[in-house]
Amino acid sequence: MLPPRKRLFRCPQGCPSSRDVSDPLLLSPVPLVTRKYDAIIVGGGHNGLICAAYLARAGRSVLVLERRHLVGGAAVTEEVYPGFKFSVCSYVVSLLRPEIISDLDLPKFGLELLPLNGTLTPMAEGDYLMRWHDAAETHRELHRHSPLDADAYGEFGRTLYHMAKAVRPMMSTIPPDATSASPLNLARHARVGRSFMREGAGQLNELAKLMTMSSADYVDRWFETEALKGTLASSGIIGTFLGPRSPGSAYVMLHHYMGELDGQFRAWGLPRGGMGSVSEAIASSARGFGAEIRTEVSVDRVLVRSGRAVGVVLENGDELQAGCVVSSLDPRRTFGSLVGPDHLDEDFLEQVARYKIRGSSAKVNLALDGLPEFTCLERLRGPGHIPRLEYLRGAISVSPSVDYLERAYDDAKYGRYSRRPYMDVVIPTLADPSMAPPGKHVMSCFVQYAPYDLREGHWDDCRDGLGDAVLDTLAELAPNIRELVLHRQVVTPLDLERTFGLTEGNIFHGELTLEQLFFLRPLAGWADYRTPVAGLYMCGSGTHPGGGVMGAPGKLAAEVVLGDVS
């Protein structure tokens, strides 16, 4: 085994030599101009880039400043081990807003999504449960486990579809202030209200339940097969510090159901070339509209004069002027480091301090010498015409039961990483062989729970422990995996913070709990992308509608900025 390339987790400032000049994003290193921009965007993650693209499209002069050597934030592809490309953090596309894909013409700039087949759940007793992309196929498979579940599944899907449809308009709405009775606010309330009222009373009740129940209780109302309940409930915990039995987790389930691809709900895919190609497509589109994007530029703070953001100060001391500043960093970073206590009042800072931004997940990326053989697939029990390989062309969910997930959460509550974690595993090379040398594979494991605050030990000492827990869990399902591992990259919550700037390693820039959603996200009274500092805006996942590679915060923030300056 070759020694791992450590570039990723060294201080990004310390490794300019590792720059890949063939990367189109890093060309044209012109010196920073002293002109004044209409807007400077701090952070070149997908939301920052999308915000920039919309502003540039409206004719504004925009500069995006990214600290790392590549754009994309947590949506990046990196060759961490020679010949193997990892979507280091974020790994599938499901939530990206279709209007953004079309507004920014992303397919033209190289965005291509490869479909995933379905979800395979290895079961505790050695059997498996497969949900196919194809409804009839899924019905046949579920029927094998429980005829009741097979019949309920269709209705469950339709119910969530309706709920997602009812909530969808909220995703493209600037949240109203719940406590203000201004006409603009009331109009916004009315718009949100109307989209709900279109649903009947029964649907409204169902929605109210979905907004408040636990995902375990919610799926319990529908199904009896443990593996099915576990897998469905698992989408209620992704990225949150909640267990499947925690009230409020059903909403997170809905949040993930909101994904749509080519007009289809709950369809998702792998971008060809990894998640970095999504970011690159957005960046190219932004450039096409005239935005300027600079990497390896660290912003130290926002320049505030007479209570107004007028530019940024770089780490090297340079000052850049702008009509406004948009931060795509999370609220803690935006206010805690970029603005600082001098320009904010005590109450506001207290609210920022109380904003919940607990990291709960980690990522393990594996370079594999071949395909793992899952014990549960040794004997295929479904219809004979589907080859074994097809079962692996989707997500592999390590979620045999609700209790399994809940016990994983129990570990995290007391400050330990899960000894037997929940995992969402994808083998992108099955869809996109270009991610690894011929015959080799890449395996992406989203791992939960990995609490940022360990009660004992430091993450730098626990990285291998977490990696072992992941491999032990995988080896129980696919024993040959140990011999296949060529390289193992463990991205702990601390790594997510240090390398990708995600405070406490929270992938959503703040928890998706009810007290931090919609008009309360990130803070009550500041859900409209504005901040207490005039001319400073937020456009990251910490704003409505929240996390995931969705892009809506970036787009909505751009709308607010454009409205304010015109």
């Binding site: 408040t212 129940m213 109302r221 009810l514 007290e515």
Partner: protein
């Protein structure tokens, strides 16, 4: 044999009695039917050993809503409240007196850090104002949604304005606070583990959830608002004779206003008459049938039983399948056990003396310990290190025990419901023995003085009081089972299928010992709201 009354109330618990008293006071001919040989349901005072009496379940009567108390003139019917004792958080070793909190005034006897003390005053005041603003929402029937007339619009506006009095900043804080978990609420404000635990434990009384479950802050607000207001901390307030004294006073109020109370009258069916004109297509409840076969017809049938039992077991009319499913899905998870000891003497507490027994003692009330108890409960087991609320009610009220003797009662949090009798018997033993061991550690010599022990587990609560699932609240105080969704979405106005009126804890205002559902339901029956 058949007779007729204006209103028949099924179930003589505190809400059934309160509802009956309000209706009788308004001139209705009311008959209350109680299955057991005594009134009161979970609010009764039991003589669990000759000469030794104790509130069966609820640790105090202070949660009874003040309006119920004064409107039904319970004082004049013999109810005597005693002052609220201190709330003391004990370290597990019994030596460390971690904190003593004056539960009513919000003051803290044990020194707190300066920032804790400041934050306690600030948050306590905020919660007090918030629960005062919420109180009118709890203490009257909810306005119909969508509003059906001008009156309803005004009711909604009034509730909104009441909240608006808080001001924008406080409204925002309230919106944020409501769905939070109580652990976050206390951890972001206080550093004292004792203070954190005392608040969390009080939010979680009768809840199967742990302090880290979202929505548990609302459960605190709900309890306070339904109990007439109050701040962060509120200790149980005793009455002479225990909770049964409230039952006796309510019964006396009923009788004074001419209601008839019958015990040993188990209802086994709610009968549905021919389709009435105002509810076309659906028969309306016109009578009940007793186990004896006797039928009693009534203009209105009111049930104080839990909604699931009322509608899925007693109601004999048709229920739409979706509604039936909703009732079946009501969650009311049994989660507490109640242990009482008859003692020949009350031993001194380690590091203290007998005065340590005044008020309420909290054991295992640290956030992690409570959460650990909830963890065990969710997998169907019991943690011997979970949270206990201990009282010696006979200290303030000597009438509960023979001269010089004492009663100690323990509310054990997070005890699971076991359907199987033998499994429940093992659980009873486990709970009693862990409570005894911990009390012995707290007050050496405790176990030597035990004359008799009695325990009520969730299964026993179901068997004795007929509460589905053994849950004391009739329906858990979960975000999806409150306000417009209590007991099921759309039925918040107390009217069930066939016009059956629900007035138990599973309806709006309910979930605990407060009497509001009975009062609210009576208002709906009288057409006053």
């Amino acid at each position: 044999m058949s007779s007729r009354v204006d209103v028949v109330v099924i179930g003589g618990g505190h809400n059934g009695l309160a509802c009956a008293a309000y209706l009788a006071r308004a001139g209705r001919r009311v008959l209350v039917l109680e299955a057991r040989d005594r009134l009161g349901g979970t609010a009764e005072t039991v003589e669990f050993h000759p000469g030794f009496r104790c509130s069966a379940v609820w640790p105090g009567v202070g949660t009874l809503h003040p309006r119920v108390h004064s409107e039904l003139a319970l004082d004049s019917h013999g109810l005597r409240l005693l002052p609220t004792g201190p709330l003391t958080v004990m370290g597990e070793d019994g030596q460390q007196l971690s904190a003593q909190l004056q539960a009513d005034g919000g003051s803290v006897v044990t020194p707190l850090s300066e920032s804790d003390a400041r934050e306690l005053i600030k948050t306590d005041d905020f919660v007090r104002r918030l629960t005062e603003a919420l109180e009118p929402v709890m203490s009257r029937p909810l306005a119909p949604l969508p509003p059906r007339g001008v009156g309803d619009v005004f009711a909604l506006l009034a509730a909104g304005l009441q909240l608006k009095r808080l001001g924008t900043e406080e409204m925002r804080a309230a919106l944020r606070l409501t769905p939070m978990c109580i652990a976050d609420v206390v951890e972001e404000r206080f550093s004292s583990p004792a203070l954190r635990g005392a608040i969390a434990a009080s939010a979680l009384r009768a809840s199967h959830l742990g302090p880290r479950a979202p929505g548990t802050a609302l459960s605190l607000l709900h309890q306070r608002a339904a109990g007439g207001g109050g701040g962060l901390l509120r200790g149980p307030r005793p009455a002479i004779g225990g909770t049964g004294a409230v039952v006796d006073a309510l019964a006396a109020a009923c009788i004074e206003h001419g209601a008839e109370l019958r015990t040993q009258a188990r209802v086994d069916g709610i009968l549905v008459g021919p389709t009435s004109s105002d509810a076309p297509g659906e028969g309306s409840a016109t009578a009940i049938r007793l186990e004896s076969g006797e039928e009693i017809s009534a203009g209105v049938v009111v049930s104080a039983l839990d909604p699931r039992t009322t509608l899925l077991e007693l109601f004999e009319g048709d229920i739409a399948p979706e509604l039936r499913r909703s009732f079946g899905e009501i969650r009311s998870r049994g989660c507490s056990a109640h242990v009482r000891f008859a003692l020949s003497e009350l031993p001194d507490m380690r590091g203290s003396d007998r005065a340590g027994w005044s008020g309420t003692l909290l054991l295992g009330a640290e956030i992690d310990a409570i959460e650990g108890g909830a963890d065990a409960h969710k997998y169907g087991s019991f943690s011997a290190e979970g949270c206990l609320e201990v009282q010696a009610p006979s200290v303030a009220d000597p009438s509960l025990a023979p001269d010089g003797r004492h009663v100690v009662s323990v509310w054990v949090h997070h005890v699971p419901y076991r359907d199987d009798e033998a499994a429940d018997a093992r659980l009873q033993e486990e709970v009693v023995s862990s409570a005894t061991t911990r009390l012995e550690r707290l007050a050496p010599g405790f176990s030597d003085g035990v004359l008799a022990t009695d325990i009520l587990t969730p299964r026993a609560i179901k068997e004795t009081y007929g509460l589905a699932g053994g849950g004391l609240l009739h329906a858990d105080l979960a975000l999806d089972q409150l306000l417009y969704m209590r007991p099921v979405p759309g039925m918040f106005r107390h009217f069930g299928p066939g016009g059956v009126v629900l007035c138990g804890g599973g309806t709006h205002g309910g979930g605990g010992f407060n009497g509001l559902p009975g009062r609210n339901a009576a208002h709906v029956v009288l057409g006053g709201a």
